[in-house]
Symmetry: C2
DNA sequence: ACGATAACCGGAGTACTCTCCATATACAAC
DNA sequence: GTTGTATATGGAGAGTACTCCGGTTATCGT
């Protein structure tokens, strides 16, 4: 048992409960170096070349440091997407309609699904990597839980009788990285076809005249 | 270049084109030994204990033999499910309604989804293992392709205007092993709740008065 | 400046999947 | 039986994810 920092005698500032101490300067430097190395590898040799040993070597740190910072391979993948993630979440939580508040729930769900497809088109390989970490890895991820909460709220508003909790996960399952790769690469689907397919699912769940397909944008 | 067996001089029986030669006796014996060892490990120590080295050792063969027979870990998992798989496919292809021919397309789809959930309840861990092999591993599997073809046919009959090819994969995505484990373990869903959720998806896709929820069985 | 201490570091070590290929074996033809 | 050949075998080895822990360093209060 070591004494806790915020019970040390002589402390002059109030302890902040629940907030971990700020990241140390060397740790921050290493974190940036690892992310930079990972991005370089990805650009040069593709997502599949992202292996932890190599990232560590090219970042000039030990492999233990990579794991300390990012937990595991999936954690590194999500960290690489963090900028996009922040922007995406801001857009559907606080941005302008139809994605953000202001539009009707069904319109917002549809906008969310379409925006997610566009995101997948850029990042599917990295997301698929992260999802493959373990069978249930995807569901524990913070970003996933945010999507889920968002969809549950909108689905509940759209149809109080539906099992929104179930349907949120169901919609997100159809947006899995592995399935998307299959659709785009093996089946040669366009992203528009995928969006139209999602519209069909959504129309069934929460029919709205205004939603019936005219254009996909 | 070695001469092909069926062009050897002096051959007295007609060559059978496209049919690989029968499995050699030693190979068959080893295949059975590997499957038996895998089942024993699974029963004693759980699905997670299924590692190729251990299976090989307990079957009394080299690890190379396991890979020759089953390709990879996912292949071994699917082989362990083969008996159930045969029965399930026979049921929805040739069995009695509502699963087999005779019932309306929508009723058959619903019966398929419910039967699949029951199957997941027994085998989700093993299926999740196989699906985690690679992001797109699931879609190349023969069983998956059979389900897919079956659902495409039924969905097309149910609604000629829908994109049955898209929707078949979408429904199967909602039946993924990883998602099922998440629903059952983390969210504590009952199988009935999952079936009702699937009904909601399906009702939206192909409304049928007779399908509206009375009981789940 | 300077300890005390908590946080961090690196890389050897473990465990696992999958490949390769020199050797061994089963089977068919005679 | 003998022989020829396709097929099977097994285990060493490569590649990779992840853990562990003795040693190091940044940071804070004095």
């Amino acid at each position: 048992m070591t004494p806790r920092r915020d019970t040390l005698p002589g402390r002059t500032t109030l302890p902040v409960i629940g907030q971990p101490p700020a990241e140390r300067a060397d740790a921050a430097r290493n974190r940036r170096a690892v992310l930079a190395a990972a991005r370089t590898i990805m650009v040069n040799d593709g997502v599949d070349a992202l292996c932890m040993d190599r990232v560590a070597t090219e970042a000039g740190v030990g492999v233990g440091t990579v794991y300390r910072r990012f937990g595991d391979r999936a954690g590194l993948a999500y960290a690489l997407l963090d900028d996009d993630e922040q922007r995406f979440q801001a857009a559907f939580l606080f941005g302008p309609p139809p994605l953000g508040p202001g539009a009707s729930p069904v319109v917002r769900i549809r906008a969310f699904l379409h925006a997610y497809v566009d995101r997948l088109d850029t990042h599917a390989r990295l997301l698929a990597l992260a999802e493959a970490q373990s069978p249930t890895a995807r569901y524990g991820n913070g970003a996933y839980r945010t999507y889920r909460t968002h969809l549950i709220a909108l689905l509940t508003l759209a149809d109080a009788k539906a099992d929104a909790t179930y349907l949120a996960d169901a919609l997100l399952a159809v947006l899995g990285g592995g399935l998307f790769l299959h659709q785009r690469q093996d089946l040669q689907f366009s992203t528009d076809r995928i969006k139209i397919g999602l519209d069909q699912l959504l129309t069934g769940l929460a029919p709205t005249p205004a939603l019936l397909p005219s254009s996909v944008g």
